[in-house]
Point group: C2
Chain length 331, copies 2
């Protein structure tokens, strides 16, 4: 059972609440997207555990940053404006120097996005650090923009991805000794892994153009797969069209490593979205405005056999993907 | 540094957000009470960690119940209506029988209070179970009721406490071998510790009468102390007036154990509130309506030396409390 099966089996049960009760509290979106929505507010929550989501030697400033960044990334994927957050933190000891650094990284990012810490819980843990942040955003009512969901990708939409994906995975593989990269490459890529930039401005700017959006936390294939499943569509993508990190260029690493990082690497927290072809130029302009590469990597297609499918090619070669979109083979 | 000092030192810093920005997002209440508030919604968050907040042998049904109950208790202390919650859970393995029991306890309590699970995060942990729930409530706009805060206790208010407090602590002390109680007493009191009843209905019914309210999670003295500090007042209480659990009666345990459980025991999740004397009869009626003992244990008084103080007596004897309200001595 993976995470999604656990949620569907045990926690996404029909709850005995009448439609009236839902309407009363103004619930607009429940389990199944990056955020839930009630009233004009969006809400999301992520857990970060030592040894699972970060290494024990992580710089506390970076950890403070990342803890909030992953939640702001969920808000960004819905095209919403960050407003508030709550912090739950369990620590084995009260190291004040550590706490000062952690809170500095956390509150710097919060301030950058005008996101206010409004509450939470601080407690002792036996051994490991455990962090849980709940972030609250708001729909951008000033513009025409709508909430971006996963389930609205339309056939013939362009598929876009922001930034230079795969860099975080490249650093992780080096750390795990799956492969070895230069000191310069590691220094750059570990920053991408530990200090991701949530694409809040991008989410807001595309929110009235895109049809579906998700943040890439599990890997491009897996997260694009979530859009496809929710929207009942398939996709054709061409990896040649992805803006490539110089550290993933063929002069720096093998094709296998590059494809693995690009297709299956999480933790970059870039956005993957689909949008009508009529918005191509406007989306390119958004990328220029933000000084952020936006790659048009393919298009949404109709399903065969009622199963979402990703047809991916690179240098004219077709990649074979498993049906969970978590790995690939090339023939 | 205790929890409150950590929050004040590292996380309750003036954030560079203009009043305008706060008004824009409709923030009404931030760090410092049981919940924060924005728009018409209240929000709170608690972490529960294995070995710290619950024993490894806890019945998963009870753990599911308690995880939500402690959050509903925070909503109750503000006099609000539970609406939604998010669940973050980290588990060392995917034991489906355990998950089925946990979700059953969790969703049963949720259903009882019409509180809908709308999202969250499920992840792996290395060893211990870690649970983080965020609960969202709404002000009761149908009635005249207001939000109950900690900082509005008025001089001469009556001080009230609900239920039979101290039972959870009595079970905990037995479990820790601080003392020994009968099998029957343990069976009753461990239920109180593991399956607390959040006083949601009580919070709603007193919300237009009480001036200040808090839920007792840290102990009567400590939590009453939070009200006093926030309200700049003192208190005079008489322990003889507390409705006493039969298991804390002098035929069952020593005076020291009884006072320790009543005054310093947390985990009962009863409410402590202050209200004008004019509401005495109406509050007694609420207790009868809910079939819940409501004890009038003293009154709010003015401060001496600008420091909140609790003057507590039992059987004519004055108890001496430390100024953190976490322990006592009797002369």
């Amino acid at each position: 059972m993976n995470e999604f099966e656990i949620i569907n089996t045990f926690f996404n049960q029909p709850q005995n609440n009448s439609k009236n009760s839902n309407n009363l509290h103004n619930l607009k979106l429940s389990i199944g997207d990056d955020c839930a929505m009630f009233g004009e507010y969006l809400i999301c929550k992520d857990l970060l555990l030592e040894h699972i989501h970060f290494f024990s030697d992580i710089d506390p400033y970076a950890l403070g940053h990342k803890s909030l960044a992953v939640n702001l990334s969920d808000l960004a994927a819905m095209g919403s404006i960050p407003c508030f957050f709550l912090l739950g933190i369990a620590l084995p000891n009260k190291d004040e120097a550590w706490l000062a650094q952690f809170s500095s990284g956390l509150l710097s990012l919060a301030q950058k996005h005008n996101c206010i810490l409004i509450g939470g819980d601080t407690t002792k843990s036996t051994k490991d650090i455990c962090i849980s942040i709940t972030a609250i955003g708001k729909i951008n009512s000033k513009s025409n923009s709508k909430i971006l969901q996963r389930n609205n990708a339309q056939i013939n939409d362009d598929i876009w991805v922001s930034g230079l994906i795969g860099e975080a995975r490249l650093a992780l593989g080096h750390k795990y000794k799956e492969w070895s990269i230069s000191a310069e490459a590691f220094e750059h890529c570990i920053q991408r892994m530990q200090m991701p930039s949530p694409r809040v401005e991008l989410g807001l700017l595309i929110s009235n153009m895109a049809n579906a959006c998700i943040d890439i936390s599990d890997g491009l294939l897996g997260d694009l797969g979530h859009i496809l499943k929710a929207s009942n569509v398939s996709a054709e993508i061409n990896i040649d069209n992805i803006a490539l990190s110089p550290y993933l260029h063929k002069t720096q690493c093998s094709k296998d490593i590059m494809l693995n990082c690009i297709l299956c690497g999480g933790d970059d927290y870039e956005l993957c979205f689909t949008a009508p072809t009529t918005h191509r130029n406007a989306i390119m302009e958004v990328g220029e405005q933000l000084n952020l590469p936006l790659s048009r990597i393919g298009k949404v297609s109709s399903q065969l056999h009622n199963m979402p499918n990703i047809s991916a090619q690179y240098e004219g070669e077709i990649l074979s993907l498993d049906n969970t979109f978590t790995s690939f083979m090339h023939f």
